[in-house]
Amino acid sequence: MKSLFAPNAQPARLVFTTMVIGQAALLLLLWLFYPMQLFPSLGEVVRALGDLITTQGLIQELWASMSTALQALAVATVLALLISYLTALPFFRPIAYAASKMRYLTLTGLTFFMALMVSSGHQVKLSVLIFGATVYLVTGMTSVILTTTQEEMDHARTLGMGEWRSFYEVVVLGKLDEMLEVVRQNFAIIWTMITLVETLYQSEGGIGLLLYKQNRYLHLDGVLAIQLVILATGAAQDYVFVLLRKVFFPYSSLGTSA
């Protein structure tokens, strides 16, 4: 028990798991027995969740949003990797710099320009998401590339590798695990954007639209139920990414403090 309050301590797995379960149980109990006036009770949220699933197609809407999010993430990752790797050439560095700064642009104004450029609502939604995710991914990925040390590059060069081969070995292959981590961390931003974009383009539905409707009619229990579903989906996605990292990059967690 003492180890739970000691700085930098490494408590036993069982102790830590028990602590997490205890904290979650405490939170649920607080929710059950001390309901706040504005905050819906646990029972109301569970009922709203059931209703959303059975009558409003929550699962189908979630799937629609998730497939759009994954599609956007895949394209954004490829684009961001390309832009980031091109920073090896000085000519392309201003592009990466500009792309990184574009994360300050607001999406609301941007959707108008996207609507002018592409034909369907789905295309607008997708292009806004791709744009939004790409600028965040470029920021993370270029900072990973910037951690490359002269020692690492020199090491590759002393093995007779040319500049491109050294870059491929040290930056592309050597930092692929860190790039995956950047993608994992920035996937959350797509969920933030998708709820906004789906309210702007309502023709295709999606969990964002469902959330918007619940919010509009002040169904706070429904709002909370959807938020919890999004939270659980995000946590599951995080877990999948961690699993992928362990499977494809087993060296990644070696030599780091737990």
Binding site: E151, R157, T158, L159, M161, E169, L173, G174
Partner: protein
């Protein structure tokens, strides 16, 4: 103190008038040194040479120049029996922290180096031979993060040997090591020199005792003073700071550290460093 018989043959590495400045500030100045292939009767072994210098004097810069990683502001570096201008990959260079590719297993680290010089089948054979010779075979499937300091160092040296042309440069190989580890590194260095007559290990270090015990030629990097006694910027190698330990009878002795002449020489070097 017995000078053992030896002969010098062709040059293996030549530094000619090497100077290096960063932002107009000289770091190295007019460095001249030539490493010659040394042969000993009835012996088939390479050699060890050393460059001394205080911390921060520019030893790592000199290493990078000798490895062809940066071009000097002036002067030339020529390597090999053909005395060609150095390019990256011609001189194996083991940096201070023994870098390896962390995303590759030990076997793959060596293979990626061997493939630079050999066809795939040949490269695999070479890797197997080096893993055995350097006592790394049981660790072939490990990633570098799981290797001990000694294993990592051996792996880094093996990797460089697999793709360099006999010359291998070690930057501060004894830095931060305990006595047992220093002995281990010394053993590896001797092992490398016995692998091929042309194998030459260049140690760049501030560890006077260990480097002197291994080397047959030494160069001391230091600062010179002008006629008015002011320090001339840029470290260099003065003619009096070039030592032929073979000629002095301090090379290739089994337990040279125990010889009084060795202690005297080390003391002399220390005084020279203090005075520079």
């Amino acid at each position: 103190m017995t000078a053992l018989p030896y002969n010098y043959k062709d040059p293996i590495l030549t530094l000619e008038n090497i100077s290096m400045s960063f932002h107009g500030e000289p770091v190295l100045r007019d460095i001249n040194a030539q490493i010659l292939d040394v042969t000993r009767p009835n012996m088939r072994q390479g050699q060890v040479v050393g460059f001394y210098g205080r911390s921060g004097i520019g030893k790592s810069v000199l290493c990078r120049i000798m490895a062809g990683l940066i071009a000097p502001s002036a002067g030339t570096v020529e390597v090999g029996l053909a005395q060609q201008p150095v390019t990256p990959g011609m001189v194996g260079f083991v940096q201070q922290r023994y870098p390896l590719f962390d995303h590759r297993t030990l076997h793959d680290n060596l293979l990626v180096a061997a493939l630079r010089k050999h066809a795939p089948a040949d490269a695999r054979q070479h890797v197997e031979a080096y893993l055995e010779r350097f006592g790394l075979a049981p660790h072939r499937r490990k990633y570098p993060a799981l290797l001990s300091g000694g294993q990592r160092q051996r792996a880094a040296i093996a990797q460089q040997l697999l793709c360099s042309d006999h010359l291998i440069l070690l930057d501060e190989p004894f830095s931060g090591l305990d006595v047992a580890m220093i002995d281990e590194v010394k053993r590896i260095i001797v092992e490398v020199t016995t692998m091929d007559e042309l194998n030459t290990v260049i140690i760049v270090s501030h560890d006077i005792v260990t480097t002197t015990a291994l080397a047959d030629r030494l160069w001391l990097l230091g600062y010179e003073h002008d006629a008015a006694g002011a320090l001339v910027p840029g470290a260099t190698i003065s003619p009096q700071h070039q030592y032929n330990l073979a000629e002095m009878g301090l090379a290739w002795h089994e337990n040279v550290e125990a010889e009084p002449e060795f202690a005297q020489f080390v003391e002399h070097i220390k005084n020279e460093i203090r005075g520079s």
